[in-house]
């Protein structure tokens, strides 16, 4: 797999910081995003209104947060398929046990994060302690979560409190989407975590597990915590999805499985670990959701939408890789 020279831990200073920043996946995917948004606005002038942007952010938030969680696991060289199961599970839990008011919303959020955290802890135990392969262990937990979702809610329905449904999809001061603030909060938490020993350890394990262990990183503990944190973040994604769809659906997480990985890869995080970050994944998710809008406004024939989606996916990756390459060479 990819054996490129791994990036230095993010705290390490470097004279080429600017070049590195520009070459990082997050910046490239943001540039792509802005180009596509320009195109979208060209074809659909209402794209520039606060409402349209707000609804796009609302639509993006669940996938963006899910991709952020997945990034934690992937950085430490793992795959977490349970993302689809946790989103379904938290979605049906929330719709089955609605609590009113702002306090209720907070309680629901805690509940979602707790559910996600528990699933993450199971994953973490299976992977870090029992040493199962990540993709296999999380496939099992994903299937179990899907089953539990069906047990809790056997058909779409349930009730979502008005506060969650309305406030979380609203805008502040007429232009700041609340869902965007939640995504920002996740990013904030990540920026803090990244500076800690745990954050650094994630990258080190992903780059070279044996070397990390030799240099005193507690590999099993770090990996376990990565899964728990990821699970909690998926819980937030499930929470935001419920706010957006205002309903419980035992299959609601399934579409997230592939999209999450696509978002992470688009955001420049190496799927073999050690390189990348949360912000890129979030922008990757935003790009995927924007793509639907651009293809719609561009009038791409419905049957062949998939061909464009696939092609853009590949081209975006090739583009960002080539650009990174060029920048690295010009630096050398």
């Amino acid at each position: 797999m990819t054996t490129q020279v791994a990036s230095l831990p993010p705290s390490a200073a470097s004279p080429d910081r600017l070049v590195r920043l520009v070459a990082s996946g997050a910046v490239i995917v943001t540039i792509l995003y802005l180009i596509l948004y320009g195109l979208y606005a060209l074809w659909e002038p209402s794209a520039l209104t606060a409402y349209t942007f707000g609804s796009l952010v609302n639509n993006t938030a669940p996938l963006a947060i899910a991709a952020a969680g997945e990034t934690l696991v992937i950085l430490a060289r793992g795959f977490d398929l349970s993302v689809a199961g946790v989103i379904s599970l938290t979605n049906v839990v929330m719709a089955s046990y609605p609590v009113d008011g702002p306090g209720g919303a907070l309680l629901s959020l805690m509940l979602c994060m707790a559910v996600g955290g528990i699933v993450g802890a199971v994953n973490g135990y299976l992977v870090a302690v029992l040493r199962l392969q990540t993709i296999a262990a999380t496939l099992g937990t994903m299937i179990i979560c899907q089953g539990l979702s069906l047990v809790i809610l056997d058909a779409p329905g349930g009730v979502v409190s008005d506060f969650v449904a309305d406030t979380l999809t609203d805008t502040l001061f007429g232009f700041v989407p609340v869902s965007g603030l939640i995504v920002a909060a996740v990013v904030g938490a990540w920026l803090m975590l990244r500076r800690t020993d745990l954050g650094v350890a994630l990258y080190t394990i992903g780059t070279d597990e044996a070397a990390a262990a030799l240099s005193g990183v507690r590999v099993a503990r770090t990996r376990f915590l990565a899964f728990v944190a990821a699970g909690m973040v998926y819980g937030i994604a499930g929470f935001m999805l419920t706010a957006q769809t205002v309903t419980g659906n035992p299959n609601s997480g399934s579409p997230f499985l592939m999209l999450t990985f696509a978002a992470v890869a688009l955001g420049g995080t190496s799927l073999s670990g050690g390189r990348g970050g949360l912000v890129g994944s979030i922008m990757g998710a935003a790009l995927l959701m924007l793509l639907q809008k651009v293809l719609f406004s561009g009038g791409v024939s419905s049957f062949y939408t998939g061909i464009f989606q696939g092609a853009v996916l590949v081209l975006a990756i090739v583009f960002s890789r080539a650009l990174t390459h060029l920048l690295e060479r010009s630096r050398a």
Binding site: M1, T2, T3, F79, L126, L130, R131, L132, Q133, T134, I135, A136, A137, L139, G140, T141, M142, I143, I144, C145, Q146, G147, L148, S149, L150, V151, I152, D154, P250, M258, F261, A262, A265, L266, S270, L271, S272, F303, Y304, T305, G306, I307, Q309, G310, A311, L313, V314, I317, V318, R321
Partner: protein, 339 residues
């Protein structure tokens, strides 16, 4: 690229590793089959009609598709990749089979079947080249080809696949020779051929070498790009074969035909003990994994409980099987019986 002359030192060290590799794998193979047999026998408690040869026959016919598709997935995983285009390629070959060949195909029509597999192989080549030459992660590249192929099949059929299965495929799936189902003979032949290809040829050894370390293999003169592309081509072809078998089985094609096979192919490979990171694993163990998963499906289907709990049990058994099949479990069991 230099021809595939393995460094004598490297091949010597590889041989040594193969000896150590084979033993736990043999145990995995035996355990998956033993677990399957145990499940079939134990399923008598679920329903008295189960635990019979009839059930075993059902398992064989249902697992044959998975075995074929999982062979390709296994090769790709062996070289450190992943093939997410399995589902779309199954669908594509099924759709092409019913539209190009159709039920009234003569000898000329039958010749189109290899053509369908060539189409699949070419799509696999595109994935492989994207991964090796352009450096796109396998996950994304095969996901993208999968999405593109699915959209192509959708557009090509305008949403309604026409036609039904050609007679030879119906015969393959439903026919018998001397009382033995043709499908059983075909599957056995496929497993033997595939296992020989993977385990006993130079190409197979190169796959292992690339999977263990692409860089080392490159240094040792293995044509890495060619080997990896070949793995993806074989995977796409195997998916194509599975698609053809499904056409024979259900006498027609639908655009969702392959959907339910993607995750099971990965699960079969991993339950069979292969490392998802590549470089290790055997096809016979994957077959064991496929048979185990299918057996599990038939037993769970017979449980008289709601779908939710059934799914929970399915997931739990996968986890239990993974835990039981861990190498150090066997090491521990062996340590209980000192010789």
């Amino acid at each position: 690229m230099t021809p595939a002359t393995l460094d004598p030192a490297l091949s010597a060290s590889k041989d040594e590793r193969r000896v150590t590799r084979v033993r736990p794998e043999l145990v995995t193979v035996l355990s998956t089959f033993a677990l399957s047999a145990l499940l079939i026998v134990a399923s008598r408690f679920v329903s008295p009609a189960l635990g019979s040869w009839g059930q075993a026959a059902t398992v064989v016919s249902l697992s044959s598709f998975l075995i074929v598709a999982a062979f390709g997935q296994g090769l790709v995983i062996l070289v450190g990749g992943l093939d997410l285009s399995v589902a779309s390629l199954i669908t594509l070959s099924a759709v092409l089979c019913t539209t190009w060949v159709g039920p009234e195909a003569g000898a000329a029509g039958i010749l189109l079947i290899p053509a369908i597999l060539v189409v699949c192989a070419l799509i696999g080549a595109v994935s492989g080249l994207g991964i090796t030459v352009l450096g796109i992660p396998p996950f994304i590249m095969t996901m993208a080809t999968g999405i593109i192929v699915a959209a192509g099949a959708l557009g090509y059929t305008s949403g309604t696949p026409r036609g039904s299965a050609p007679a030879p495929l119906l015969a393959l799936m439903k026919g018998e020779v001397a009382g033995i189902p043709l499908l059983l003979i075909f599957t056995a032949a496929f497993v033997i051929a595939a296992a020989v290809l993977q385990q006993a040829t130079g190409f197979g050894r190169r796959l292992y070498a690339v999977g263990a370390s692409a860089r080392a293999a490159f240094v040792a003169g293995v044509p890495v790009t060619r080997t990896v592309v070949a793995a993806y081509m074989l995977s796409a072809t195997a998916s194509g074969v599975a698609g053809l078998m499904l056409v024979g089985y259900s006498d027609g094609a639908t655009l969702r035909m392959g959907d339910s096979y993607l995750l099971p192919t990965i699960a079969a490979v991993v339950v069979g003990g292969s490392s998802i990171l590549g470089g290790s694993g055997s096809f016979v163990a994957t077959v064991g994994g496929a048979v185990l998963l299918t057996t599990l499906g038939t037993v769970i289907a017979a449980l008289g409980i709601g779908q939710g709990w059934r799914t929970v049990i399915e997931g739990s058994i996968i986890l239990i099987a993974l835990l039981l099949l861990r190498e150090n479990t066997f090491a521990r069991i062996r340590s209980w019986f000192p010789r």
